[in-house]
């Protein structure tokens, strides 16, 4: 279970006296320690060389801070940490039980009932990890420890050892092949759904004694994870459907941790250790006893400065430990569970701060799910940054609700957030229809919410005080297509298709584009409106081609726009082509292939990774650090929105007061606030929409072109205008 300390090991780290070595890896050593108050801890110490890597300390600090926010009975709590020490360290409660991997190796597969309990509690554990804004990324049998009262999830995302990455032919993969989700295996970022996949693997492993994708070389495991169905034949019939759903290739098809918990959690183990088979329970008891022995014995074994002695105390201590362990092992260890729980209750100093909650009203299904995902990520990042500030007056937590893009579910989601008095502000909703029903609920409750992804502009009628939008209105963005044509001197005869399958947002865009192009800019327009539920879009494109238009705007949903791109390409049309701004960041480049090259999206969404400013670079780096990818489209706006909300909220919190500010105060402040964000400066107009009338709107509208199969930011409208005049362009 552990090794004695080596001569080079410190005897003490901050408030922990080190007792044993629990393990060592590429980045450092994990020790068993005892706190001054007597509790046992696992202290992970990072080697100075590892900590020298650029950005490591900041990341470590952030992750440690996030981990301290994880709060659940089935996760191992973080006790303390120090990112600034020469060798950064982090201490968690010590759980003496064996891991699932050890238990299964020693005693074979676990009975179905035990796995059912295990699954339900692990799902709850993951839920609390996700609620803290973390993704575990490495859920595996070795990271789940068994205690008599339930499992404990360890090692959530903090300062992962190099051992935890696998070097494969295709590159470095973080995590453990065989338990990694297909998206992780492909090198894509891990999400909470990836943890659910891993949970499915753990449950299958516990039920059958084997990982569902077998064992072998990492590459083979990854290949099987992506392409093969898991081996679930030996899985218990009752559990197979749940496990199979967790193992769905498509992250969106997997249940949430909450669903898994609900599906499985019929039995919660009581004080009696009857959820595990006897041999495993005995194994836990033995380990616990061995640990319990430590505090009793250690003070006599290591007394005074002898602890600093290189050689002196070691043999004696080892002997004593072995002896004590053997004694207690014989006695059995019924008190172990109590100990484990009691220690978990010990809180860190940060817990004394008040905690406020930011609601994230998201959508995880349908076309808007891609917007919802970035909103969730942006909120988690902004909150993590807040919580990493040592001078903060309060802590923030995120609470995510999903409306599935449905009106009624959105109403319910808003009600659940407004009913939670800890929620002080909300990011979202994501889609127009949820916004329509939810804004009323927020308005009635006086809970301030800001949507960064909706562009209809009449919500103030439903909720005149509490609802805000930071996205540009659809109307304005439609008009900006005309301005893009003007500044690039291509204001000819345009065919505009408004495909009503794209709903009223495309109508908004198209109406203004037509009017703008013709009446204000002086170009020629041939409009076509296509009825929803028909296949008339293609005929409209053909008729416009026959009409001799020299540029084109197809404003409709993705499928229809892709088809229009193909039809135009087939007809050899090479004039300027614009899509609805809502398709920026969509699958259009991939779906349309060569036919999509050269299409434009004119939008307020900035690609921060393509910008040179310091805020954009900082943001991009933070996003990469956290999510392993450049910020997705709409991430910068969602992040700015949260930061603006939090900045104004901070000003509503009375200094020194521990209470909660009145909800209404935030909306009053926000209405007058100005916030300098990554891509633009935010302020709200009379109707709480993004104030496009402020001078900088042309600096805040970006043109993206599909080039080489992806969206590329060409610059802002004003940048393109300057470039057109021969001045310096770009943004």
């Amino acid at each position: 279970m552990s090794e004695p300390l080596e001569s080079s090991d410190p005897s003490r780290i901050a408030g922990f006296r080190l007792l044993r070595r629990l393990g060592a890896g590429g980045m450092g050593v994990v020790y068993l320690g005892r706190s001054d108050s007597g509790g046992l801890a696992a202290v992970k110490v990072i080697r100075a060389e590892s900590a020298a890597e650029e950005g490591f300390r900041a990341r470590f600090a952030r992750e440690a801070e996030l981990a301290r926010r994880v709060d659940g009975p089935w996760v191992v709590p973080v006790l303390d940490s120090d990112a600034e020490a020469r060798e950064p360290w982090l201490a968690t409660s010590f759980v003496p039980g064996p891991s699932i991997a050890e238990a299964v190796a020693a005693h074979g597969a676990l009975p179905a009932r035990a796995v059912r309990v295990l699954g339900g509690l692990l799902a709850a554990a993951l839920e609390s990890v996700h609620e803290a804004g973390l993704v575990h990324r490495d859920v595996k049998p070795g990271n789940v420890l068994l205690a008599l009262d339930g499992p404990r999830l360890i090692d959530f995302g903090i300062a992962r050892d190099a051992d935890d990455t696998a070097l494969t032919a295709s590159g470095l993969v973080v995590g453990t092949p065989g338990f990694l989700a297909p998206e992780q295996a492909r090198g894509e970022p891990a999400s909470s759904a990836s943890d659910v996949f891993a949970l499915g693997c753990v449950l299958a492993h516990a039920l059958t004694g084997r990982p569902p994708f077998g064992t072998g070389a990492p590459d083979a495991l990854l290949y099987r994870t992506v392409h093969d169905e898991p081996a679930l034949d030996a899985v218990d019939d009752d559990l197979r459907p749940v496990v199979a759903r967790c193992l769905a290739k498509d992250p969106a098809a997997r249940p949430t941790t909450g669903e898994v918990r609900d599906l499985l959690a019929e039995d919660v183990p009581g004080s009696a250790a009857d959820w595990l088979p006897d041999p495993v329970a005995r194994m836990i008891a033995a380990r616990s006893a061995e640990s319990l022995a430590l505090p009793d014995i250690e003070p006599t074994a290591v007394s005074g400065p002898a602890a600093e002695d290189d050689t002196g105390p070691r043999p004696g201590r080892r002997r004593l430990l072995l002896a004590g362990g053997a004694l207690l092992l014989a006695a059995g260890g019924t008190g172990a569970a109590v100990w484990a729980r009691g220690d978990g209750g010990k809180d860190d100093a940060g817990g004394e701060r008040p905690v406020h909650v930011l609601g994230v009203h998201t959508t995880r299904t349908g076309d808007d799910a891609r917007f919802g995902r970035v909103c969730e990520r942006a909120a988690a990042l902004a909150i993590a940054e807040h919580n990493a500030d040592r001078r903060r007056a309060y802590d923030l937590k995120v609470r995510v609700v999903d409306d599935r893009g449905e009106a009624e579910a959105a109403r319910e989601a808003a009600r659940s957030l407004t009913a939670d008095r800890d929620v002080v502000a909300v990011l979202g909703p994501v889609g127009e229809i949820p916004m329509r029903t939810a804004s009323v609920v927020y308005g009635e409750a006086g809970l301030t919410h800001v949507s960064s992804t909706t562009g209809q502009n009449d919500y103030f009628v439903l909720s005149p005080k509490s609802s805000f939008q930071t996205a540009s209105p659809h109307l304005a963005l439609g008009g900006y297509i005309g301005l893009h044509a003007q500044v690039t001197k291509r204001l000819g005869r345009i065919g505009v298709v408004i495909d009503r399958a794209g709903r009223t947002p495309v109508q908004d865009q198209g109406s203004l584009l037509v009017a703008q192009w013709r009446d204000t800019l002086g170009g020629e327009v041939v409009p076509r409106v296509v009825a929803e539920g028909t296949d008339d879009g293609r005929a409209a494109v053909r008729s416009l081609l026959a009409d001799g238009v020299d540029s084109f705007a197809y404003l409709g949903p993705l499928d229809a726009t892709v088809r229009a791109a193909r039809d135009l390409a087939e007809a050899g049309f090479t004039g300027p082509r614009w899509m609805s701004h809502q398709l920026y960041g969509s699958d259009f480049p991939r779906r349309a292939g060569a036919a999509g090259e050269g299409w434009y999206a004119v939008t307020a969404a900035v690609d921060a990774a393509a910008m040179d400013t310091k805020p954009a670079k900082d943001f991009t780096r933070a996003w990469r650090d956290r999510y392993g990818t450049a910020p997705e489209p709409y991430a910068a706006e969602a992040y700015d929105t949260v930061r603006m909300l939090l900045a104004e909220f901070a000003r509503t919190v009375p200094a020194g007061a521990r209470g909660r500010p009145a909800r209404g105060a935030l909306a009053t402040r926000l209405a007058k606030a100005e916030y300098k964000g990554i891509g633009r400066t935010y302020a709200f107009g009379q109707y709480h929409g993004y104030d496009a009338s402020s001078r900088g709107w042309a600096d805040a509208t970006y043109v993206h072109e599909v080039r080489d199969g992806r969206f590329r930011q060409l610059g802002t409208l004003s940048g393109l205008e300057r470039a057109g005049r021969g001045e310096q362009g770009g943004d």
Binding site: N457, L475, R500
Partner: protein, 349 residues
Amino acid sequence: MTGWRPALSAASCALLLAGCTGGTDDGPATGTERPPSKRAGEGGGPAPSGSPSASAPGVGEPYTLAEDRAPRTRAEAVAFVRELPVRPDHFGAGYRKRVPYETDPGGWAVLDEDCVWQREPLPKSVLASLTRRLVLPASDGRGAVRVSVTVTVHASATEARRDMAVSLEEALRCPDQRLSATERVRGLTSRADPYTEQRSVVSEDDLIELGEYLVDGSKKARTFNWFKERVGPVTVAATARLGGGRSEAEENDVTLDVAKGVSFVSAEVDRSGESDADAEGKDQAEGNEPTEQGNRAGRTDSTGRTALSTGTAGTAGTGGAGGTTGASFAPASGPPGASAAARPTGAGR
């Protein structure tokens, strides 16, 4: 480049707010008393009132008419539009029939390439189209309000959807339109809201235009409004030309009343699709008139219309996307009795 600014015209903002107030007052109140009907308009089903009852299961469906209950032949369609109860007081107190009252259901108005409305025979996609002409006589210094109501039966719901698309397209294509030898419209803004988008409409699709009309020889522009709803394969449209002499608030009241009137007619179309038994039960349960009053509340919540008037100030100055759409124009001079223009899209210029 100048800035872009959403600018609500005073008129429609008032209209909007009036609608919103009506909904807020009526929504919760009627919601509790509402019979278990599927009807959206009754009690303001889709209204953004936030009242729990507004979204209770079983309510919140739009006015519609199943194709298998709709007229299938021209003869049936003509009988349908003639028999449909369209009463002058649907549109407000004091309305009367104008003479001539009804047009020939075998023809309709089409906006030609030069943006002039022409009366033409019905295409194959339309089974019948009947326009009724109403007037609120002038009194107390307030000019007459002329309303033309057109009910059109299309060959299918798809054809009716195409007709709505054509109407929207016409508004974009022709910012200025000639109604008749003596009248034209200009400065119209338009938008259409499908029921599914939760914007407080009561039929499957709901189109609205607000603007002004001019009588040749007169320099004074007057208020012109146009509403059109789709109920399955049937479209119901009404134009309103307001005489002068009203305050802005009074004009808004008149306009809202016309919009409600269209919804009442839509409700009649919907009702026509119910079986006799259904209809009886419903009548006994709630009575006809209260139902319609309930519907008023729903219709009053025409909040979606805001964006209608959010044009642009600065850059665009396009507050009016322009144009009216194929609608019932029954000019004083006579012929094109008006009708919801209906043509298959493919036929477009």
